[in-house]
């Protein structure tokens, strides 16, 4: 049965032979190929946009405002005559930055805390679990609103909110998966052999739960991008002139009747990016599942 409060899908059992490599399987899994492809494209456009975009994403050009897609402006221009394609490219920087940093926060706290909760049953584990109970009350969006109210909205409040909101997820996933490994016979053997808890965590637990955690990180990345887009749309994140998919959506709201394409482009970018990361995460889980059964 599930440990207390475990969500469906958080538990994975491992047989301890997870390290057997099956090269080539990666390329036969459609989720990994499609998801990985989209992720690579987003990362590439983010990196390229640091050095080059067709136009300056902030350059205002009133004489070309609200232009339709053409050879000079592939996706048209917005209400200030700024090039849509350049702004879409530059926005991927923000999405990647927020995604990466919030995943980093959630894992940097969640994984060690989860391991600790698994290794030290009793008081320590109880304290950690009760703290996660508190954090469960603050979904990313609510946390971001509170932080924005206190410190003023910025990219960093968004990162902090998403990162903190997903700490409990990593604690629970790490703990429940680590517990399974810790209760296995080969860990019992290692204990009998005299290995210390820390060494067992490092040599047996971490390598065994790594794939599950990586899949979870990819899924969280997709959720972070969803949350970031929503927060930027609400005006609680990235501030106005800077291009981000969420702020582009917000400003497109005034042109729903005349220039619906202004809404379509950032929408497509968000959906594609989120889909990419979630597919990649699912694919990694599927591969692991397949490897376990084989």
């Amino acid at each position: 049965m599930l440990p207390s409060g475990a969500r469906p899908g958080e538990i994975e059992v491992d047989d301890g032979f997870g390290d057997v490599e099956h090269h080539g399987r990666w390329l036969h899994n459609p989720s990994v190929v499609i998801g990985g492809g989209i992720v690579a494209l987003v990362v590439l456009s983010g990196i390229v946009s640091i050095f080059w975009t067709p136009y300056d994403p902030l350059a205002v050009n009133p004489s070309h405002a609200l232009a339709a897609p053409s050879m000079s402006h592939w996706l048209g221009t917005d209400e200030y005559g700024r090039d849509e394609f350049s702004r879409l490219m530059a926005s991927s920087q923000i999405a990647l930055f927020v995604g990466a940093l919030s995943v980093l926060i959630a894992t940097a706290v969640g994984i060690p805390a989860g391991l600790l909760a698994a290794a030290r049953e009793g008081a320590i584990s109880q304290v950690i679990l009760r703290l996660t109970d508190i954090l469960y009350g603050f979904p990313a969006l609510l946390a971001a609103v509170v932080l924005a109210a206190a410190f003023g909205a910025s990219k960093m409040t968004v990162v902090l909110a998403i990162g903190i909101a997903y700490i409990p997820v990593f604690i629970r996933v790490t703990r429940s998966n680590a517990l399974v490994v810790l209760n296995s016979e080969y860990v019992l053997a290692a204990r009998a052999y005299g290995r210390r808890t820390f060494a067992i965590l490092r040599r047996h637990v971490v390598p065994n739960i790594a794939t599950t955690i990586i899949a979870q990180m990819s899924l969280l990345f997709s959720l972070a991008i969803l949350a970031e887009a929503a927060l930027d749309f609400l005006g609680l994140g990235t501030v106005a002139p800077t291009a981000s998919w969420g702020t582009m959506l917000a400003s497109s709201q005034d042109y729903l009747g005349s220039d619906a394409l202004l809404t379509v482009w950032p929408s497509l970018a968000i959906v594609a990016c989120v889909l990419g990361f979630s597919l990649l995460g699912d694919g990694i889980s599927e591969l692991r599942e397949a490897r376990r059964r084989s």
Partner: protein
């Protein structure tokens, strides 16, 4: 299972033979103990939720009150004399130590008194009550739409697993999950309002005209519900697939039942258990999602009130609404946990 739970397992209780006495008192004692056995986990779970709520309230209060700068300055503007600021600060009770301010706030909140806004001078409780008449129906409609989409789609996906149509359904729900409700909302506006003029764009006429009110809620509910349906269909599919692969269903089929019959007689009841969990958790995420969607459609619900309060630096209202949402999420989590135990007899008494 963690340590605290295993302590509650039957092995740690004195065996029935240990109770010796008159027949009547023994039965009473046993039944009392049995009742206690069922109640103890419940009380324990309730206690942890109260602790979590307390922690959440401290967190909200501290985060919103750590920064220097008094709300009185915000209210009076930059032209205010220091004396006026001081007076108003005292009048609002903001010169008290933080701990007293926290206790005042919490004491009132527990008694159902949300306080008065510094900015609008209105009762926050009545503002929230008004907002809930919009947010409540919105969330319920969205859940309903999510179930209406998710249940059939998930069932079809499970029954057609391994076929092209099954994979197609899977791909559809995967894409649906990647659509933020903002995007769903804006695209629905473009197609159904701007192009086809079927629904009002935004705003809310109030419940005095129920038909117009419902019309105003259709698009917002769909923007939340369609995405929710995609998420739910994945859980439904997984849950039913698990039943389809189970031994008891194979037995049911071997005695001559068709797949549909076997599922109806045996499968659905078992598949429903994890789904109750999902519905509860998704209800919590719909409450949060409503914050965004209300802002897309300018619906005067809890989300719009929250955002307006943030923009006006009306911190007490922010504090109250944040606590209300956090409480809702935590209570839903609790109900999910309890229902799980109620629905699955195998888990009874295991906390």
């Amino acid at each position: 299972m963690s340590a605290d739970e295993s302590q509650l397992s039957p092995h740690h209780l004195p065996s029935g033979g240990a109770v010796r006495g008159q027949r009547g008192s023994r039965t009473l004692g046993t039944s009392l103990r049995r009742a206690g056995l069922a109640l103890l986990p419940l009380l324990r779970r309730l206690a942890t939720m109260v602790v979590a709520l307390f922690g959440a309230s401290v967190l909200v209060f501290v985060v919103l009150n750590v920064l220097p700068g008094s709300p009185a300055e915000v209210i009076l503007g930059t032209q205010a004399t220091p004396r006026a600021v001081q007076q108003l600060t005292a009048q609002l009770g903001l010169n008290k130590p933080l701990i007293n301010q926290y206790l005042d706030w919490m004491g009132n909140l527990v008694r159902g008194n949300f306080g008065v806004s510094y900015i609008s001078h209105q009762s926050i409780g009545s503002q929230i009550g008004q907002a809930l008449t919009v947010t409540g129906p919105l969330v319920l409609f969205a859940l309903l739409i999510g179930l209406l989409i998710g249940l059939p789609l998930g069932l079809a996906g499970a029954l057609r697993n391994g076929r092209v149509s099954g994979s197609l359904i899977g791909a559809m729900s995967q894409v649906g999950m990647a659509v933020p409700s903002v995007v769903a909302g804006l695209l629905l506006i473009v197609v159904l309002t701007v192009k086809l003029h079927i629904f009002p764009t935004s705003g809310f006429p109030g419940w005095s005209d129920p038909w117009q009110a419902l019309r105003a809620l259709v698009l917002p509910s769909f923007s939340l519900g369609v995405v929710e349906g995609a998420i739910m269909s994945r859980y439904v599919r997984a849950s039913i697939l698990e039943q389809l692969r189970s031994d008891y269903l194979r037995t049911a089929r071997s005695k001559g039942l068709r797949v549909g019959q076997a599922l109806r007689r045996h499968g659905f009841r078992n598949a429903a258990i994890p789904l109750v969990t999902v519905v509860g958790l998704e209800l919590a995420s719909l409450v949060v999602g409503a914050i965004v969607v209300e802002n897309v459609f300018s619906l005067p619900g809890l989300g719009l009130l929250l955002l307006d309060s943030v923009n006006n630096r009306d911190l007490i209202t922010v504090q109250d609404i944040a606590m209300l949402v956090a409480t809702t999420v935590l209570v839903l989590n609790l109900l999910v946990d309890l229902s799980y135990r109620l629905l699955d007899p195998r888990l009874k008494g295991t906390a």
